[in-house]
Symmetry: C2
Subunit: 192 residues, 2 copies
Amino acid sequence: MTMPDVLTFAKEWMERVLENGDTAIDATAGTGRDTLHLAHCVGSGGHVFSFDIQTEALEQTKQRLDKHLLYERTTLINKGHEHAAAQIPADHRKKLKAAVFNLGYLPGGNKTITTRTETTIQAISQLLDIIKPGGLLFVVVYPGHPEGRMEKDKLEEYAAALPQRDIQVLRYEFMNQVNHPPFLFIFDKRQE
Amino acid sequence: MTMPDVLTFAKEWMERVLENGDTAIDATAGTGRDTLHLAHCVGSGGHVFSFDIQTEALEQTKQRLDKHLLYERTTLINKGHEHAAAQIPADHRKKLKAAVFNLGYLPGGNKTITTRTETTIQAISQLLDIIKPGGLLFVVVYPGHPEGRMEKDKLEEYAAALPQRDIQVLRYEFMNQVNHPPFLFIFDKRQE
């Protein structure tokens, strides 16, 4: 038995929380891995909105979706995730059950273009407002680069201050690994 | 969807790692909840060795097992867990797939009798030596009382220093709860 790594654990819970017909958000399209997984999870009746500030990332995402014939289940939006909540049509908000942030920079891309602490927390906060009770918001944090380390500290502060009655924050982390590997927060919006 | 709490998550993974015929150890029998769960998980062909320094705890554990007709699958031993590794017969060592530590004091018992950091770490270290590769060792930590806080700090230090090649240490923790709730370490002994 091997405990699932951070990304595998997150994917398992995306599958568990999403049902056919649900809406999901990939707040950091990157190479499109999470968008593709979410598109599988929401089924033929669901939809995924996927955001990235880099057109290069959205092109890679589109290619990946095309290859799996799942592009139609998605809407790719060339904006930062701080605009995500405002971009989701009202009828989709009601079905929003999962959102995913995979922080840091685009693999293979320009490493100076990273997610920014301020807009990350702004986006998380907005999405926690509109996500359905019972929905999950996933954040994979990469403390191995300087902006990532700051993001980690600020996110810990932000998460620790959330009211436990409304949102539970789980931390899933392997603690004896070299090179500051990624770890996971899951924000669990409680049923009313 | 609600993320499982610490004890539920631990129980789920005990179920996943144990198969019929395996051996398991409850290093802190307490009221017998984990012993009972482990006895279910190891099936009719398996066995659970359960340790506690308090006879009161072992009596409660026996009562609980009797009620579920599972006492025969267990051996209750009135010794501290630092003796656990030495007490397990050789033929059972080969089948040892899980060990559980639920730290702190006996619920409803004498609160001055708690697990002690030094013997806890000694016991964990010995059991990690004899557990089968692929086996899991669970530690539920209660940082809400002074000895528990010390145990938490020392365990973090101990876990962070383990060689990642041999043992992965997962931390599963809810981070915005009041009153220092328990959290979980899972020590995952890697397949060779």
